[in-house]
């Protein structure tokens, strides 16, 4: 079997510019390469409102998975507040198959910190927390090292770079819960409580950490901000996929994006592209395509929480609106590949187990439902399922999705529902009384 010939659009290195540079995590190295010049520019020549305006102009969308316009989110933070305002950088990168933020934190922690400082300046925050996944010890160490260097250099603390802007920054390691990557679960954890997501509204911009206005952005989102401040929002907006004037909901995907591939491919990894390359290009061109003798069966475009696409559907562009239109989602843009050796029933057990185990336990449908799903998949896998189980699964998806405080339950349902829809014959073949694909009826045994 031959790998289909695939284009390799060149990478556009903005966030990953310093990746591979020796000691790129030290201030000495990156400052010579331009680190903190954006901060200096903002503090000396721009008002906070101007920084926010540039981010709005850039049409930067959140890189944590939901793709909410960052500038709009910044605008939600009240200008004046008697309370301390916070910036919380969501570095709890625990989405399965996702490892892009880790590269940023390990290889260019000063870029992340500079982005946080710019955001803090823009919204008037005086404290930054970087909430890092506990299983990322090197990220934690590099960020803490960067903070210490920045503090010593007058880049963090009182009167940063001689300006009137003062801001403290802290690393807060998580303790190993997927749900603490949900922004309000993260805030609870940050406050020392159980990571139970909060009911919104109030949104964190109004009432977040310690009941104070809080801006929460993903690592990659914030890491984009220095470039936007240096080069202008308009320059950023020129990159990537423009908005679709015919569709007001398709606001485009501007800028570059770290994209990754994991699973049984020849060269898994993370690269940076302007939005617009196709999923096929990512997987075949950069990921190297399937292992010798294998074919690709299904791909989750970003993380585990999105519906799967089949090999035939991989020509979709990597963009927020494009993947949504294709019935999936960009998610974290770190694709998980499943090849022809992947047993879809076992894959569902794996997915269901993950969400069942990571459910915080708060809402009834998620706490009880995700485990129930897992048990049903296990029953099918053991050859004890019936046709009614497939209907039961479909019915439970509806009883779980959209019925809970946070989106974890939705994230559990989306991949599972799409797998059952697209690979139903695999499930039918495993039932206690298998269904023939032709007749669509149970074979009497």
């Amino acid at each position: 079997m031959t790998t289909p010939a695939t284009r390799r659009t060149p990478e556009t290195k903005v966030l990953s510019l310093n990746f591979g540079v020796p000691d790129s995590w030290t201030l000495k190295v990156v400052r010579e390469r331009g680190a903190y010049q954006a901060l200096e520019k903002a503090l000396k020549t721009m008002t906070p409102e101007q920084v926010t305006a540039e981010v709005k102009t850039s049409r930067l969308r959140g890189r944590g998975g939901a793709g909410f316009p960052a500038g709009v989110k910044w605008g939600f933070v009240p200008k004046s507040s008697p309370k301390t305002k916070y910036v919380v950088c969501n570095a709890d990168e625990s989405e399965p198959g996702t490892f892009k933020d880790r590269y940023l934190m390990e290889l260019d922690p000063h870029l992340v910190l500079e982005g946080c400082l710019l955001a803090a300046y823009a919204v008037g925050a005086s404290v930054i927390y970087i909430y890092v996944r506990g299983e990322y010890p090197l990220s934690i160490a590099r960020l803490e090292g960067a903070m210490a260097e920045a503090r010593a250099a007058g880049l963090v603390g009182a009167n940063i770079l001689g300006s009137s802007f003062s801001c403290e920054a802290w690393v807060h390691p998580g303790a190993g819960a997927y749900i603490c990557g949900e922004e309000t679960g993260m805030l609870e954890s940050l406050e020392g409580k159980r990571g139970h997501p909060r009911i919104k509204p109030p949104f964190p911009a109004v009432e977040g950490a310690f009941a104070s206005p809080t801006l929460i952005n993903n690592v990659e989102t914030l890491a984009h901000v220095p470039w936007i401040v240096t080069n202008g929002g308009a320059a950023f907006a020129k990159q990537g996929i423009p908005p679709d004037p015919a569709n007001p909901r398709a606001v485009g995907s501007s800028g570059t994006k770290l994209m990754g591939v994991s699973g049984p491919v020849r060269t898994p990894g993370v690269w940076e592209f302007e939005f617009g390359i196709t999923l096929r290009e990512l997987i075949y061109g950069y990921g190297g395509g399937p292992l010798p003798g294998r074919t690709i069966k299904a791909v989750i475009p970003g993380g585990i929480s999105m519906p799967v696409l089949t090999d035939a559907e991989l020509d979709v562009k990597m963009g927020f609106d494009e993947l949504a239109k294709a019935g999936s989602g960009l998610g974290t843009a770190c694709a998980i590949v499943m090849d022809d050796t992947c047993d879809m029933v076992k894959a569902c057990i794996n997915i269901a187990h993950f969400f069942a185990d990571e459910s915080c336990g708060q809402c009834t449908p998620c706490r009880e439902g995700c485990h129930w799903l897992e048990k049903i998949y296990k029953r099918i896998d053991a050859g004890q399922g019936t046709l009614a189980d497939l209907d039961l699964l479909a019915s439970l998806f509806g009883n779980i999705e959209g019925r809970t405080i946070c989106a974890l339950a939705d994230a559990a349902v989306w991949p599972l529902r799409s797998i059952l829809k697209k690979f139903r014959p695999e499930f039918e073949a495993r039932l206690a009384r298998p269904v023939t694909a032709v007749a669509g009826q149970a074979v009497m045994s």
């Binding site: 009911i199 809402c363 009880e368």
Partner: protein
């Protein structure tokens, strides 16, 4: 509501803000949620984790309703009312969402209703009947979790029955303020854990049993004692202290089985303290006086009829009145005709005791214990459940032993042993034989708080009604009001010959009581309370 004024400018009055629930305009106050507005007008929105006295958790999801314009159902407990909001509680989407939650709640529930104390007052049962499915689709192995976990000495936890609504955790956080409970574990292993070692420090811990909408938290005192449908329930008062918490008394075959708090916005809201809840032992005491008794010359007691006892007591009291202070020298100097009352006696009983004292040319006094456990929530140091009423009627408080001819002693050690023995009383009304002092010549059984109708005045001046529980205590007891009235007749007092309603009418007209708050006894008796 301001009545419309015809003379005002003919501008349309501002319409009260309203949401539409099931096609009906439902008014709301700013800040109210949909569930509050709905409940206020009697529209039932089911709920487990919502409680009007606690913060909103929004985790059980049973209160989901359809909101026009939203494809997803919303939880009514957290949905703020807004003008123009259109809610459907019975639409296919709302009913489907509710049935879905019901099913999820039962997937891992042990379904052990036949041995569960909550059966009969369980919201899981009620909502299963209302919204659940007849046949189960949950045929997978259930999750197993800790059972029979002691939460202190008074509460028992079953994590398998638990629906993780966190009402108990919120209660100890927000009302008790003692934080002994927390959620532990996650996903379907999530359970309630006790963070303190061994015991609650709050005296209000047992409220979590009432709050628990299912059988996860049960009372060590009540569990396995009776099925609810064999009991009858009476809305009455706790007499453990002068707060006068409103309670529902559950009784069966002559025994008081349990007390549970009953909502009263002005007195106890939804709560009561553990000492009050468990302080009913004297009602079920094995040494209750069940019939009048008269002392024989040899010092032994003989049970007699009420009529015989009244005649005996009447003769005794008449003799004492005749001799007046003539009993001096026998340790009875002063107070020869005094009546010492328990501070828990009802206003009606105290009023007649006053009349009796007057007929005996003596004074009526009361005694009540004073504790040191008062707090800012409910418990007060004043233990006389009607001390305020006794004072309003002009009875002096007695705290040191002093002679009295008649003694009425009920419970709770208001009239302690020193005062009882020190009274030298000849005619004694007591609920328990152990409270009858050696000086007594005749003893009448006194109904406890559970066995009588009567008015008590609480610490804040609220007049509230005790109601008789028909199944509780020795059957056929004559009320103290009746006995005291008969004695007045025996003594040929012009005040004799009154019944309960006569005394009540008299009390209502007393200027000394006019300043009290009478709203509670003017309202009709509350319907049988549910948790």
């Amino acid at each position: 509501m301001t009545p419309p004024s015809p003379s005002s400018v003919p501008a349309a009055p501002p319409a009260a803000a309203a949401v539409t629930i099931d096609g009906r305009a439902v008014p709301f106050r700013p800040g109210q949620t949909v569930i509050q507005a709905a409940h206020a007008v009697g529209i039932d929105v089911p709920h487990y984790c919502y409680h009007p006295g606690l913060s909103v958790a929004g985790n059980c999801r049973i209160c989901m309703v359809e909101v026009e314009g939203s494809s997803k159902p919303q939880i009514a407990c957290k949905l703020p009312c807004a003008e123009g909001l259109k809610i459907r509680t019975q639409s296919p989407l709302a009913l489907e969402a509710r049935a879905g939650v019901m099913e999820m709640l039962l997937v891992n529930h042990p379904l052990d209703c036949p041995i569960c104390d909550q059966a009969g007052e369980c919201h899981l049962q009620e909502y299963s009947f209302a919204f659940g499915q007849g046949a189960t689709r949950a045929t997978t192995e259930k999750t197993h979790l800790p059972k029979n976990v002691p939460f202190g000495a008074k509460v028992v936890y079953d994590a398998e029955r638990c629906i993780k609504c966190t009402l108990c955790v919120r209660f100890v956080d927000e009302i008790a303020g003692t934080h002994e409970l927390a959620m532990g574990g996650r996903s379907d292993q999530e359970i309630v854990i006790m963070t303190a070692k061994g015991e609650f420090t709050t005296p209000y811990a047992m409220n979590i049993i009432d709050l628990c909408p299912v059988g996860a938290l049960t009372s060590r005192d009540f569990r396995f004692k009776s099925r609810l449908w064999f009991m009858d329930f009476t809305p009455t008062l706790c007499t453990g202290c002068a707060r006068g918490c409103n309670v529902t008394l559950g009784a069966r075959t002559g025994r008081l089985m349990r007390l549970e708090p009953r909502f009263n916005a002005e007195v106890n809201r939804w709560w009561m303290c553990d000492p009050g809840r468990l302080g009913y032992g004297h009602v079920n005491s094995a040494t209750r006086l069940t019939a009048p008794r008269v002392k024989q010359p040899d010092g032994s007691w003989v049970e007699v009829t009420v009529e015989a006892a009244l005649a005996f007591a009447g003769a005794l009291l008449r003799a004492a009145r005749m001799s007046g202070g003539g009993m001096s020298g026998g340790g009875m100097s002063g107070g020869g005709g005094d009546v010492l009352c328990d501070g828990n006696l009802a206003l009606e009983e105290l009023q007649l005791a006053k009349d009796l004292a007057a007929a005996l040319k003596g004074q009526a006094r009361f005694a009540a214990a004073v504790g040191k456990d008062g707090d800012s929530l409910l418990i007060v140091n004043e233990k006389g459940a009607n001390a305020k009423g006794a004072e309003a009627l002009g009875l002096a408080r007695q705290s040191a032993p002093a002679p009295a001819l008649v003694l009425l002693v009920e419970e709770h050690d208001n009239v302690g042993k020193a005062l009882r023995d020190g009274s030298g009383a000849k005619v004694v009304f007591a609920s328990d034989a152990t409270h009858v002092p050696a000086s007594a010549e005749v003893a009448f059984p006194l109904p406890t708080f559970a066995e009588k109708d009567g008015w008590l005045v609480n610490v804040d001046g609220h007049v509230q009604a005790l109601r008789r529980s028909p199944q509780t205590g020795p059957q056929g007891l004559t009320s103290a009001v009746e006995l005291l009235d008969e004695l007045l007749t025996e003594l040929a007092s012009p005040r004799g010959g009154r019944g309960l309603s006569d005394v009540r009418a008299e009390l209502r007209s007393l200027p000394a009581l006019a300043a009290l708050i009478w709203t509670a006894v003017e309202a009709p008796a509350p319907a049988e309370a549910t948790t």
